[in-house]
């Protein structure tokens, strides 16, 4: 991006109207440090100014919601005195500019959001989207992102237990990296991002502040990319997982000893955010001495100190009587501290630097008075043409298409990715990566938490409302086949340029889709993130919402279903509505080389509720359950065969039956009569046995499909 010329506010990415608003709030022209603070806090990334009015549509209430959207993470009650904290965030733009550090600091940031609430982070999930792997740049990006997640996640000591990879041309210039974190805590340990009462002391904990990432997440993530994106590399932050690990342990000890009244992490917008938000929430002001901030570079200006996004920093709010004990805990964990300020009565945030006041602004105005935009929206004119396209795979041999699907890097084994991640730490991972939903037991209880993260840009491009609703239903079914009932959703909305009416329409439709599905399942949205400007050289990505759904299994099935538990002679059943021949947005359409087109099948709220309940019940009874999604029934059965090392025969090999991805369907494999399946929903489709997979008249050796599936991703990467 070329550096804009003109007035200071425009250089910081602010419009003339926004500047006038600041003048209105202050009653005068802003000082440079004040302008810097407003520019980051009012950026798209921090203020949600384009999306906020639409996000109000989300259902956010349920009896088990303890903390809804607006705090650092959502928190839900999971019974017996336990709470779960969850959050999802994107690190799309930084990961394109510098994939290792971009992805690594994404992990660091989401962890801080969760342990800020008083929770110990127990697991991470990663959603990665890049362009096709036949382009070297995309291979470089995927390898870099995976290394960054592994490098940070493993060293910080939080297991990465699941995720998803998707490839599409639209992500070539704009990869997506979304990361979700789950934490658990005892009820009495919940901490909020509040500054407390007047007299409370603000203590900055963690890494020294430097010039890295000035305006990183906030400015980088709030504008589109043009050719010169590498010039933005200095705005990417650098992560230090060792510092973060110490910070986690120190903060958890502070919570356990009840030594803090509130905590706020320093992420996007750095000190500007960590002072104004907690003060704003408390309805108070604050006095901050920038000279006290420990830093690793000399000569930093006030705007730089206020905008820096240096990683691994937290702001703790402490009663004066506890200060010495807080400093002692920090000293034990070998983390640096600085007493930087004090909470004051009245609304103003006063910031001093070199003995002078450099900013004096109403704290709440930074967080709450950001402009609320009502951007125009319009249904894309091209949609009717796209919907009218017809896809048929009737002239392709089903076994050939299946082999192509298994050989696809998005469908084949993800082992190359997840074996680089520690996914077993904490001895909780009952079902880990490479399954439908992850299942994490809670030691010392009968409970387990299940999580599924799901996205599908192609489906949402064709119909954002149906596509987004289907993601919620798919995630719900994924946790159900692990034995859990859906509890809450977080979402990461990855979109193009909101200044285009078509992109705003996609956002509004997506929000409607997610909201409708959540209402149908009776679950709230407890948090989320919006990433706009995923656009390079004027081309927007597909609308790509990613849903993270938390479920609770109480009790956990004593022997949860696994893909690997099929045995010779077991019956294969398909449960759910009969599939149509609509392949719009399906993996079969893609690997068959057909253009992306058609209108995806509409989901059904009633059927969704019914199959989710049924699957969660069956998880206590049957050895194998598997959600039918990418690649349809054929791929689902093939994955069971590969995991169990045994063949199968499917009787009806009609393409619609084999490859449809119509929603609300799952596979049951069991000995005859193990469980009663409802006659109106269940069809017996085949039998397990032998050493080959037969679809109608075609047959594939188990060794061939196993090899194709295992090698798909490594071959595409050339590793």
């Amino acid at each position: 991006m070329t550096t804009p010329t003109g007035p200071a506010h425009q250089k910081l990415g602010m419009t003339d109207d926004e500047y006038e608003s600041i003048v209105g709030i202050l009653g005068r022209e802003p000082l440079p440090a004040e302008l810097a603070m407003y520019s980051v806090m009012w950026s798209e990334h921090c203020s949600y100014k384009s999306s906020r009015r639409h996000l109000e549509r989300f259902p956010t209430e349920a009896p088990w919601v303890v903390v809804g959207p607006g705090e650092n993470a959502g928190v839900v009650d999971i019974g017996d005195g336990w709470l779960a904290a969850l959050r999802i965030e994107s690190h799309n733009h930084p990961s394109f500019v510098e994939p290792y550090q971009g992805a690594a600091t994404g992990v660091g940031g989401i962890l801080r959001d969760v342990f800020t609430m008083g929770a110990r982070p127990i697991a991470l999930w990663d959603q990665i989207r890049v362009g096709p792997l036949d382009q070297p740049k995309n291979r470089y990006l995927l390898k870099g992102v995976v290394s960054g997640i592994a490098g940070y996640g493993n060293a910080v000591g939080v297991p990465t237990v699941g995720g998803e990879i998707e490839f599409d041309d639209c992500y070539s210039g704009n990869p997506l990296v979304n990361v979700m974190c789950l934490g658990i805590l005892r009820k009495e340990q919940l901490v909020l991002g509040t500054a407390g009462t007047p007299g409370t002391i603000a203590v900055l904990l963690g890494k020294a502040t430097g010039r890295d990432g000035i305006g990183g997440a906030s400015i980088l993530a709030s504008a589109s990319f043009e050719d010169e994106s590498e010039e933005k590399r200095p705005s990417v932050q650098v992560g230090d997982p060792f510092e973060e690990k110490k910070l986690i342990e120190a903060c958890l000890e502070l919570y356990e000893k009840s030594l803090v009244v509130g905590v706020q992490d320093l992420g996007a917008a750095g000190l500007s955010c960590a002072t104004s938000e907690p003060a704003g929430r408390a309805g108070l002001g604050m006095r901050i001495e920038l000279d006290a901030v420990h830093r690793r570079e000399s000569g930093m200006t006030a705007p730089e100190l206020l905008m820096s996004e240096s990683q691994e920093r937290m702001m703790a709010f402490v009663s004066p009587g506890n200060l010495d004990r807080v400093l002692a805990v920090a000293d034990k964990w070998e983390i640096e501290t600085a007493v930087v300020g004090e909470v004051k009565p009245g609304p103003n945030l006063t910031i001093r630097h070199n003995g002078r006041v450099v900013a004096e602004v109403p704290a709440a105005s930074l967080a709450n008075d950001a402009p609320l935009l009502d951007r125009p929206s319009a249904r894309p004119g091209w949609l009717d043409d796209v919907w009218s396209a017809q896809t048929s795979v009737n002239d392709v041999e089903p076994v050939d298409l299946l082999l192509k699907l298994l050989d696809d890097p998005a469908i084949g084994s993800s082992a190359w990715v997840h074996e680089q991640y520690d996914h077993m730490l904490f001895l909780s991972t009952v079902i880990g990566p490479g399954s439908d939903g992850s299942l994490l037991r809670m030691k010392g209880t009968d409970k387990a938490l299940a999580v599924s993260t799901d996205g599908n840009g192609r489906l949402c491009y064709l119909d954002p409302r149906r596509g987004a609703a289907r993601l919620v239903y798919e995630a719900a079914l994924n946790v159900a086949v692990a034995g859990a009932r859906p509890l809450a959703v977080v979402d990461n909305l990855n979109f193009g340029n909101p200044e285009k009416p078509e992109v705003m329409w996609q956002l509004i439709e997506t929000v409607e889709g997610i909201s409708g599905a959540c209402e149908a399942l009776g679950i709230p949205v407890v948090g989320g993130n919006v990433s706009f400007y995923n656009e390079t050289d004027g081309v927007d990505i597909h609308p790509t919402p990613v849903v993270g759904l938390l479920g609770l299994a109480d009790p956990m099935p004593s022997s949860p279903p696994r893909w690997s538990q099929a045995n010779e002679g077991m019956e294969i059943w398909e449960v759910g509505p009969e599939p149509t021949d609509n392949l719009a947005g399906s993996a079969a359409q893609r690997v068959a080389g057909e253009a992306l087109g058609g209108r995806p099948t509409a989901p059904s709220p009633e059927r969704a509720r019914r199959v989710v309940t049924l699957a969660a019940d069956l998880a206590h009874l049957v050895p194998v359950l598997h959600d039918i999604s990418d690649g349809g029934l054929a791929v689902a059965v093939a994955e069971i065969c590969i995991a169990s090392g045994v063949g199968a025969r499917i009787n009806n090999a009609e393409p619609a039956a084999m490859f449809s991805e119509d929603p609300h369907r799952f596979v049951v494999v069991m000995e005859s009569g193990t469980a009663d399946l409802p006659a109106d929903l269940a069809t017996r489709v085949g039998i397990i046995g032998g050493d080959s997979l037969s679809l109608g008249s075609g047959t594939l050796d188990l060794s061939i499909i196993t090899n194709a599936w295992r090698q798909a991703l490594p071959s595409a990467l050339g590793v």
């Binding site: 592994a150 060792f242 996914h423």
Partner: protein, 219 residues
């Protein structure tokens, strides 16, 4: 019989090791690396993780921690001392075990179950196992490739398929007396079938039995 589970800044497997020892009937306590006395303990485990961020070199900074002089004293007195993963790296850095651990052959982090074979049953982690017994437990490391130009020490367990390129396929190595051992895969992650395997039980039970028999070999 109490085991000290030592925690350095960056260690992350301490709670898992305590959980596993307690599940097998042992008694364990977390001890901070700045402690100087292990007088209250009968044995020591250095758990896995990234002590001091693996900065400089794995285990290179940890070996200078105050607690390490008492770990050395116990090792020399014949008490059971076990290093798991990062703890194995520390014991090599401290000179309590031979060799060193370098980056995996394929320069890639490896987290998955691996099959091991018991080679030597006269060590602190194998004394209840039988020679040739197969054990399946998770590996989780980047620097897991054991090399030892001196060809000293005893290989207690070896990989069936050598995933990281270790010399002699060594997955676990002990000192001459057998009371100090390091193992790269994680026995504490393999004590329950619900998590994929309970094969690691025999290794940790061997360690617990060694506490009872302390000292293994008279000093």
């Amino acid at each position: 019989m109490r085991t000290a589970v030592i925690v350095f800044p960056g260690t992350n497997c301490e709670h898992d090791v305590v959980y596993a020892l307690e599940a097998l009937g042992g008694e364990a306590e977390i001890v901070w690396h700045r402690e100087t006395s292990l007088d209250d303990f009968d044995g020591v485990i250095l758990p896995g993780g990234f002590a001091h961020g693996d900065y400089l070199r794995t285990g290179a900074i940890a070996r200078f921690s105050p607690v390490m002089s008492d770990v050395r004293r116990m090792a020399e007195n014949g008490a059971p001392v076990l290093g798991i993963c990062n703890g194995f790296q520390m014991l090599c850095e401290a000179g309590l075990l031979p060799g060193a651990l370098i980056a995996n052959r394929d320069l890639s982090f490896i987290c998955r179950f691996v099959d091991l074979e018991v080679v030597d049953t006269d060590t602190v982690i194998t004394r209840l196992a039988s020679e040739g017994e197969r054990v399946r437990i998770p590996l989780n490391s980047y620097e897991g490739n054991w090399v030892d130009p001196s060809a000293g020490g005893r290989v207690a367990l070896r990989y069936v398929d050598n995933p990281n390129g270790s010399q002699a396929r060594a997955a676990a190595v002990a000192n001459e007396r057998g009371n100090v051992a390091g193992i790269m895969p994680h026995p504490e992650r393999g004590i329950e079938d619900i998590l994929g395997s309970s094969d690691g039980q025999v290794l940790l039970e061997s360690f617990l039995q060694s506490l009872v028999d302390y000292p293994l070999v008279p000093a």
